[in-house]
C-alpha cells in the first residue's frame, strides 16, 4: 500500500483554517437599529451582535437612528477598505471630537451628545473608539489618544488647517434654513425664498441663493442653484456642501 505524504494534507488544513478565518472576519458587518433610552428615541450601532455605540441626540434633520445608520454605513465602508487597528483613533474636529478610521470620519461627538451620556466629548469619543476596537481587533493595542489641545505643541495646525476638505464635511451636524433666492431667466427676474440644507457651519455662511436659468420654449430648460456667501449679482461665492430642497418665487421684472 502506497503511503501518502502528510504535507499536502497539513497544507490543505491550514488553507482551510485561513479561509474560514477570512470568511469569519469578512462576515462581520455593522448594522443599526432604533431603540429607546429612558423613554427617548435612541439609535444603536452594532458590529455583528455586539453593541458598540448608542446615539441619544438628533442632529439637524437626522434622528438618533438616522445617525446610527450613517455611522454603520461608514464603518462598513472602512471595514471593506481593510481597516487596521492602528488606524482607529479619536481626535479633535472643529467644535468637538471625532472617531476616525484613518482619515475617514466615523462619528462626531459634540457637547449635546456627550451631555446626554453624562460625559465629555473627548471621553465619549475614546469610549466609542475602544468599543469598536474591542469587537474588531480583540487583544490588539489601539493608538494612544491624542493629548488635550492645551498640551499640544505650538506647531499644531489650527481648526481651519485641520478641518477636513470640503468633500468630507461633517454631515452628522446639519441644519436647514430659508434664504432669499434671486432667479435670472430668459423671461424675467424672479425673487423669492429657498430652503437650503447642509452642514451647520456651511449653512450659517449662506446669505442667499442665485438661480441661473435658460428656458428653451417647448424644448427644455437648464438651471443651476448656487448658494452664496454674499449678496452680489456680479460675484458668485459658492458655499460648498449646501443644497437646495425647495423654492418659491414671484416675477419682479419681465424681459
Amino acid at each position: 500500500m502506497v503511503r501518502r505524504s502528510r504535507v499536502p494534507l497539513v497544507m490543505a488544513v491550514a488553507l482551510l483554517a485561513v479561509l474560514l478565518a477570512a470568511a469569519a472576519f469578512s462576515a462581520v458587518t455593522a448594522t443599526s437599529r432604533a431603540s429607546e433610552r429612558n423613554g427617548r428615541p435612541a439609535g444603536e450601532v452594532l458590529i455583528g451582535d455586539n453593541l458598540v455605540m448608542v446615539l441619544l441626540t438628533s442632529a439637524g434633520i437626522y434622528s438618533p437612528s438616522d445617525r446610527a445608520g450613517i455611522v454603520a454605513e461608514r464603518l462598513n465602508d472602512a471595514m471593506s477598505a481593510g481597516l487596521q487597528a492602528e488606524q482607529l483613533s479619536a481626535r479633535s474636529l472643529p467644535g468637538g471630537e471625532g472617531v476616525y478610521a484613518g482619515e475617514r470620519l466615523i462619528v462626531s461627538v459634540y457637547g449635546p451628545e456627550a451631555n446626554a451620556h453624562g460625559s465629555t466629548p473627548a471621553a465619549l469619543a475614546d469610549s466609542w473608539r475602544d468599543s469598536i476596537g474591542r469587537v474588531l481587533f480583540p487583544g490588539e493595542a489601539l493608538p494612544e489618544p491624542e493629548p488635550p489641545a492645551a498640551e499640544q505643541p505650538a506647531e499644531t495646525p489650527g481648526p481651519a488647517e485641520s478641518a477636513p476638505p470640503s468633500g468630507e464635511l461633517d454631515w452628522t451636524g446639519t441644519a436647514q434654513k430659508w434664504v432669499p433666492i434671486f432667479s435670472l431667466e430668459t423671461e424675467g427676474a424672479y425673487l423669492g425664498a429657498a430652503q437650503i440644507a447642509g452642514p451647520t457651519a456651511q449653512v450659517n455662511k449662506v446669505k442667499g441663493v442665485a438661480e441661473l436659468r435658460l428656458n428653451f420654449q417647448n424644448i427644455g430648460r437648464i438651471y443651476a442653484y448656487v448658494p452664496t456667501a454674499t449678496i452680489s449679482i456680479t460675484k458668485l461665492d459658492r458655499v460648498q456642501g449646501v443644497s437646495v430642497w425647495a423654492t418659491g418665487d414671484i416675477r419682479l421684472a419681465k424681459f
Binding site: I219, G220, A224, Q240, S243, G248, D249
Partner: protein
C-alpha cells in the same frame, strides 16, 4: 439569462403610471412620451459621470461649481408641463451614493411659483422609494415630455 430592469427606470415608470392613473395630468401621455422618459433615464444612467463633469466644468467657469460629493441622476418634473432630464445632486456623501432619481413637483398660483425637489432612493429592505436625507439639487438639464 434575463437582464434586470434598472431600479431607477422602474421607479420612473411607476411614477408615470401613478400620474396617469390619477388622471391629474394636464397633458396627454402616449407611448412616445413613455419611451422618451425611459430613453432619457437610460442615457442619464449611462452617461451620468460625463454629464456631472460637464455641469461642474460649466459652473466652475463662474466659481459656482459644487465640489465634493456630487452625482447626476434622472429627474422627472411634474406639475409644470412635464419634463425629464438629468439633475446634479450634492450633499451628504453617504446619501448621495444611494440617490437613484429626483422628483420635482412644481406649481403656479398666479405669479407665485412653488417648487419642491425630492431626491429619492430605493429602500433595500422594503423595496419602496424613500426621500434621501441630506441631499439636494445643484443643477438641472431637462427636456419637455
Amino acid at each position: 439569462m434575463s437582464k434586470r430592469i434598472p431600479k431607477v427606470t422602474l421607479v420612473l415608470l411607476v411614477a408615470l403610471v401613478c400620474v396617469m392613473a390619477a388622471g391629474s395630468a394636464l397633458w396627454a401621455l402616449d407611448l412616445g412620451d413613455i419611451l422618451k422618459v425611459g430613453g432619457v433615464a437610460f442615457l442619464v444612467n449611462q452617461y451620468g459621470g460625463k454629464i456631472d463633469s460637464f455641469i461642474t466644468s460649466a459652473l466652475g467657469q463662474r466659481n459656482a461649481a459644487a465640489v465634493g460629493a456630487t452625482k447626476v441622476v434622472p429627474i422627472l418634473s411634474l406639475g409644470g408641463g412635464g419634463y425629464i432630464g438629468a439633475a446634479q445632486v450634492v450633499g451628504n456623501p453617504d446619501s448621495v451614493k444611494k440617490v437613484k432619481a429626483v422628483f420635482q413637483l412644481e406649481g403656479r398660483i398666479g405669479s407665485f411659483r412653488p417648487k419642491i425637489l425630492v431626491p429619492t432612493y430605493v429602500d433595500k429592505v422594503q423595496g419602496t422609494p424613500e426621500r434621501a436625507k441630506g441631499v439636494g439639487v445643484s443643477a438641472v438639464i431637462e427636456f419637455r415630455i
